[in-house]
């Protein structure tokens, strides 16, 4: 663990390590691809994805003008998919950030203070972990109404306990480490101990958790949108699928269905690979096995 932490000193070092892992390479490339696509969406032969087109362009199969064909309002599916990647990535990252933030905070508090605070916090965590995820998300999304912010909120509400639990157990072992006591002995306050001493040491773990949460969030957005709980005015992959499923032309217009499905799966796969790679790299002795 220590040896690995040594490597993590610099993010660069970590990424170098990640790049020695095949899955890490694949995951990172997939992510980079989508990130570039999302960033440069307006330059990628796209039109306003919500703009309806001419009547004669309804449900066109892929052609020169419409690379992935059109939907039932003659909207360009290529553009929708490109812009949809923004929604998925934004939801993925914001939800992961929020989740990890809340989870880490709770985990830090519970792990560091112990005693009654821990007892209460961990009971809450246990309670949340007992709740069935998808139904809870569905119920909350139904109650809160459709918007991507609600999706982010819902995903975070449902996922933070896992992070809290992981972080807590890490904190439990960290706080027993001598440097924490040494720092306390010097006279460091609790907040300095938590945020100055312990937090930097759970950052890699947070990173690993965040990667996992991104997949969860992308998945959740897609499912909720597909089930009709997304925001129909936001172009997201799940929403494209939802419209395709509702239109009754899925079987006639596979070009409407396949691209969003492919994108959802690829992006989730990318993050799953990345997550597996990160946790592989996190394993103590990884470098030794690899002979690095």
């Amino acid at each position: 663990m220590l040896k690995f932490l040594r490597e993590l000193e610099k993010v660069k070092g970590f990424f170098q390590l990640l790049l020695t892992n095949k899955m890490g390479v694949v995951g990172l490339s997939i992510f980079a691809l989508f990130a570039i696509v999302a960033l440069f969406a307006p330059f990628l032969h796209t039109v306003d994805p919500s703009k309806t087109g001419a009547v004669e362009n309804i449900l066109l199969p892929p052609c020169h003008q419409f690379w992935l064909g059109t939907d039932d309002l003659a909207r360009d599916i290529w553009s929708q998919v490109i812009f949809g990647s923004r929604v998925s990535l934004v939801i993925g990252f914001l939800a992961a950030a929020l989740t990890v933030l809340v989870g880490t905070l709770i985990g830090l508090m519970a792990g560091f203070y112990g005693g009654r605070i821990e007892e209460v916090l961990m009971r809450i965590v246990d309670f949340f972990m007992m709740l069935p995820m998808l139904p809870l998300m569905i119920v909350l999304a139904a109650i809160l109404g459709p918007s991507i912010w609600n999706v982010i909120f819902v995903v975070s509400i449902v996922s933070w306990p896992t992070t809290a639990r992981v972080i807590r157990s890490q904190v439990l072992s960290l706080k027993e480490r001598a440097f924490v006591e040494a720092s306390r002995c010097i006279g460091a306050s609790d907040s300095l101990l938590i945020f100055g001493e312990i937090l930097p040491n759970v950052v890699p773990l947070m990173f690993a958790e965040a990667v996992l949460m991104v997949t969860e969030a992308i998945y959740a957005e897609a499912v909720l949108a597909f089930l009709g709980l997304g925001d129909p005015t936001t172009v997201s992959w799940g929403m494209i699928l939802h419209f395709a499923f509702e239109s009754g032309t899925m079987s006639r217009a596979p070009w409407w269905v396949v691209p969003p499905v492919a994108c959802i799966c690829t992006l989730i796969l990318g993050f799953t690979f990345l997550g597996t790679a990160v946790s592989d790299v996190l394993k103590p002795g990884y470098r030794e096995i690899r002979g690095l």
Binding site: F127, I143, L227
Partner: protein, 329 residues
């Protein structure tokens, strides 16, 4: 001493479960009081419902009382097994849910059983041969499958096998009004179950592969495996008698929990294949904003998860004495 230890452990776990269930009940009650809008108005889509009629219904459902009293009432009813009346179906929620449970169990249990068997075998092979080509192949495949949302998988299957090739039915649990009975009927059900089951199997199978693989890796590094190998046992015997046996423990745990979670997790599959189970019921309840039903299904799911966890904990505690000594940190 051993029994006493286990009994104490069991009681502690049971009390924790009861507290959790109670908390779920409370949250469940409160969440549905946060619902925007007037539930009574939602109950009747007709706009001509008068204020008096609404008041009557409100009284009937106890919605005119203060929150605390409503909660009290809710608890009392709950103890009597009454989860309220579905807005949409106008009959007891419990009855509505109970009608759907057998179909869901049929699908889930079948799919999960296949997933466990396939996943464990492949995972064991991958874990045993860590680092080889077979391992990379199995791992790659299962990670990929694990990344494909069930509903995406379902849609693709539906498109290919039901719509394009027309070799599987378009959805549902059986051929409508077939009049089939006995063996013929079950054959028909199996035929309908194939696609939804496969899309669940592929997803959960991936999870089991990953799980078995990693616990297999842990197990194969343990001393007893080395010892067994050193004793000159055949690889296959070591695998079967020692490594696999120990690697299966987490599989058992996760299966118990999955069984409960899967009931919820197959919402996607049931929706895509219009399988008339609890998952589809949740979807319908959402679409129809049938809050009592939604509340009921949610409670049933949550309690199922808690109970499954409890059972798994107890079995685990009984099998593995370390858990008892270790207690809850």
């Amino acid at each position: 001493m051993a029994l006493k230890g286990f009994a104490s452990f069991a009681i502690r776990k049971a009390i924790a479960a009861i507290i959790t269930i109670f908390a779920i009940v409370c949250v469940n009650f409160l969440i549905f009081r946060m619902v925007p809008g007037d539930p009574i108005r939602m109950m009747f889509r007709d706009p001509r419902i008068t204020a008096e009629q609404m008041q009557l219904v409100r009284e009937k459902f106890g919605l005119d009382k203060p929150l605390w009293e409503q909660f009290n009432c809710y608890l009392t009813e709950l103890f009597q097994g009454n989860l309220g009346i579905s807005f949409w179906q106008k009959r007891p929620v419990l009855e509505v849910i109970a009608d759907r449970i057998p179909q869901t169990l049929l699908l889930v249990v079948t799919a999960l059983a296949i997933a466990v068997i396939l996943g464990t075998i492949l995972g064991a092979i991958a874990g045993w041969k860590t680092g080889t080509k077979i391992d990379s192949f199995i791992l790659g495949i299962s990670l990929t499958l694990y990344s494909v949302p069930t509903f995406c998988m379902g849609i693709i299957f539906l498109l290919i096998f039901a719509f394009q090739l027309a070799i599987f039915p378009l959805g549902g649990i059986s051929t409508a009004a077939s009049g089939l009975t006995g063996f013929g009927y079950w054959k028909d059900v199996l035929w309908h179950m194939f696609l939804p089951a496969i899309s669940i199997v592929l997803w959960y199978g991936g999870e089991y592969v990953l799980l078995t693989r990693s616990s297999m890796q842990d197990a194969s590094g343990q001393d007893y495996i080395t010892t067994a190998r050193a004793k000159g046992l055949k690889e296959s015997a070591v695998l079967r008698n020692h490594a696999l046996r120990n690697a299966l423990l987490p599989v058992v745990t996760i299966t118990g929990v999955n069984l409960a979670f899967a009931v919820a997790g197959i919402i996607e599959a049931e929706t895509v294949f219009s399988w008339p189970g609890v998952g589809r019921l949740v979807y319908d309840a959402v679409m129809k904003r049938d809050y009592p039903l939604l509340q009921g299904t949610f409670l049933v799911f949550a309690v199922a998860v808690v109970l499954a966890n409890l059972v798994v904990d107890l079995i685990y505690g009984y099998i593995d004495p370390r858990i008892k000594v270790g207690k809850s940190e």
